[in-house]
Symmetry: C2
């Protein structure tokens, strides 16, 4: 059972109240947030009064479903009416959201209790999660390491057991990367499924709302509340899925311990190695699109108040401005070619899979990492396996595969939009294990 | 009556034959093409045998409609099976098309007789029409002047009376600009209406197949044969159209003689001046999109065989490669904003109008022009008023407004896609006159 379902059952059995759950979450924040840097803003009063309303409703027989009375957190890139909305940046240090984002409205309509906002890498522009106006998000498994990013605060809050789920965003892996590095589940539904109104943009053709949860099932419950889907689902026949294992390690840094652990996590299924020659082209296309769209989002701020950016984020934006337009145009063509290629694979396989990230969590501030004997840039290493699914917009889920050297590792499952049921049933079959411990 | 209709009537009355019309066109090419440089390839045998087939069909009672047996020409950017397809470039000096472009197939199915291919500015990338592997297209009104471009050969062929209509393309005005400067009609239907398979691309989100005709009605007959439309037409109530006259001259070089003549050509209608503040933004957006897409089309040729390009075209491509991706992304947003603005104007006006080009035909090779006392670049002056409608994809028609200093001037009419009938009925009301003669 998922954490949400455990809480939901306890609530309906009268074993706890929404207020008690919320006060417990608030108490954990008070204890742990100093070390974790997970929360940007804690809304004690708002959360307690929302929890009380949830309790009154339940006792009046009004039941809004599985999220009713459940404490949740929302990434500081998503507007929550009345709360500061800094987007992790000094540019918005004094800004407050006046309205709820569409996804926040839906969370509230489902009865969820928002306890606060979580730290984001500045403007969501970084998979390391350690450059924010609020300071770095830290990994609950080892606080001198990154939680990952950009939804690092949401991942840390869930991994530390403060809330069972939190909203994030995912432009290149921003929900799945910190989920993998913090040992929880992270889900990016199909592009466009969850509305983005009120979510601060980074690269609009790549931006997704994502969910970080204690388990895959927790993620699924939230996504279903955010965006009910009514299409006929493609379910698994029997219990064994045909999985295409993308041969990522040939082109991207993946340690052998991570490769073995993640591959082994799918041993119940019929797993076939699939060459992934298109990976470089997809990576180039992703970069050209993200660079162009991200700089288009921020060009005026870079021109007018560059000093308000974190220095690393500013450098990255300035480099992004150099991508030529014709590369963007070619990237759009490459995106279509890659979509066709992957659609062909999805005729042969139920799902595709790979490690979520080829390494375990680096240290805060670390920018080079040695993988299989050669030095690599941390950022591109973190993004290599997740960003292709932002390019193509397919649903992609990271679930814990186990631990390498006591640090969490995630395995990523990818499917076409109509195979979410199958994706989540395979996710349920994965039992985390240890390697090299 | 249009030239096509005159010919069609004569054919059916037995006063002429398709073969006679074709031999007449071929004879005129033989006489005039040395001076005009209009044709790249003349297909005597193919044309005569197609004309004979058309005659046999007509005598057998098979009537393919108004284009049956009519001689036409096709721009050398559009594939005609079996004929050389150079695209005006040394890059394709030995190339032959193996299949007809979709629009050529439709022309043939409508019974038209293709007499040859017409000279294009290299790869369609220039409104001056004077840089082609085949040499410059010359203006029949004064052969030391430009026919305009890039469909300069098609315009010269029609204006010289060789064929009543010719296919062109239009990415920034390539059908309308030479039509205006040669004193004929040029029409760019709505984006996507005429299929582009087999048409060599320049900037795919701006590229249109266009038609150059002796009269607007000739253009219409061809477009209807290329792409029958079945939507309910929006017709003119009465005979007076509400026309919004875009105040172009404030921002773009337009000589006062051209402004007066074109404005005066619409005097039967209810014409209102409309400020056009968005023009600069539309021009910038057009340039960013054309630069990015055109270089994406040609990047490999620029890298591998730059020496095969005309030097001016190569320079222009190299400059185009500098447009940053974020400008392309912003241009896509600006395009949407401009579309919204213009849609608002189309609620108040039946049509919009402006001069097609603010000046008369410059000399071949001329690159600076003095307009109202200041020196301007010829290329941007030619493109300023036509390219916005490539950006937005609205139908746009240039019809002769008369003459300034014995050189032709065109007036441009623009409409939403469902108002073609109205557009052409206003075009029929325009009587060319003279100014400053």
């Amino acid at each position: 059972m998922s954490e949400i379902e455990v809480m939901a059952e306890a609530l309906r059995a009268g074993e706890t109240t929404a207020e008690a759950l919320t006060r417990c979450a608030l108490a954990r924040i008070a204890e742990q947030n100093g070390e974790l840097g997970a929360f940007a803003v804690v809304d004690r009063e708002g959360a307690v009064s929302a929890a009380r309303r949830a309790d009154v409703e339940l006792s009046d027989g009004i039941d809004r479903g599985p999220l009713h009375g459940i404490p949740v957190a929302v990434k500081d890139l998503i507007d929550v009416a009345g709360l500061p909305a800094t987007r992790g940046s000094a540019h918005f240090s004094g800004h407050r959201a006046t309205e709820d984002a569409a996804c926040v409205r839906r969370l509230r309509a489902a009865g969820a209790v928002i306890v606060g906002t979580t730290v984001t890498h500045e403007f969501g522009y970084g998979p390391t999660g350690d450059r924010s106006w609020h300071g770095p998000a830290r990994n609950p498994h080892e606080p001198r390491r990154m939680a990952g990013g950009s939804s690092g605060g949401s991942a840390a809050a869930v991994a530390a057991g403060i809330v069972p789920v939190a909203l994030g965003t995912d432009t290149g892996g921003s929900a799945r990367i910190p989920a993998a590095m913090c040992g929880i589940a992270g889900y990016k539904p199909a592009f466009g499924r969850v509305p983005r109104d009120g979510v601060f943009p980074l690269a609009p053709s790549l931006d997704h709302v994502g969910v970080l949860g204690a388990t895959a099932r927790d993620c699924r419950l939230v996504v279903d509340a955010l965006a009910p889907q009514h299409s006929a689902p493609h379910r698994l026949v029997g219990t064994v899925a045909r999985i295409g294992w993308l041969e990522a390690a040939a082109r991207t840094p993946v340690t052998s311990a991570v490769a073995d652990l993640t591959w082994g996590s799918l041993s119940e299924h019929d797993v076939t190695h699939v060459p992934w020659d298109a990976q470089d082209a997809m990576g180039d296309a992703f970069s050209a699109i993200q660079n162009s769209e991200a700089f288009a989002t921020h060009a005026d701020r870079v021109r007018d108040q560059p000093e308000l950016f974190d220095a690393e984020v500013l450098d990255r934006l300035r480099s992004a401005s150099d991508t030529p337009g014709w590369r963007y145009v070619r990237a759009l063509h490459a995106r279509e070619a890659a979509r066709e290629y992957m659609s062909g694979l999805f005729e042969r396989f139920d799902l595709l899979a790979s490690p979520t990230v080829g390494i375990t969590a680096p240290l805060l501030g670390q920018r080079e990492v040695t993988v299989n004997g050669s030095s690599r840039a941390v950022r591109s290493t973190l993004l290599a396996l997740t960003s292709p699914w932002n390019l193509l917009g397919f649903p992609a889920l990271s679930v814990p595969a186990g631990y390498v050297d006591r640090l969490p590792v995630g395995v990523q499952l990818i499917c076409p939009p109509d195979r979410e049921d199958l994706l989540f049933s395979v996710a349920d079959s994965i039992v985390p294990s240890c390697a090299g411990a």
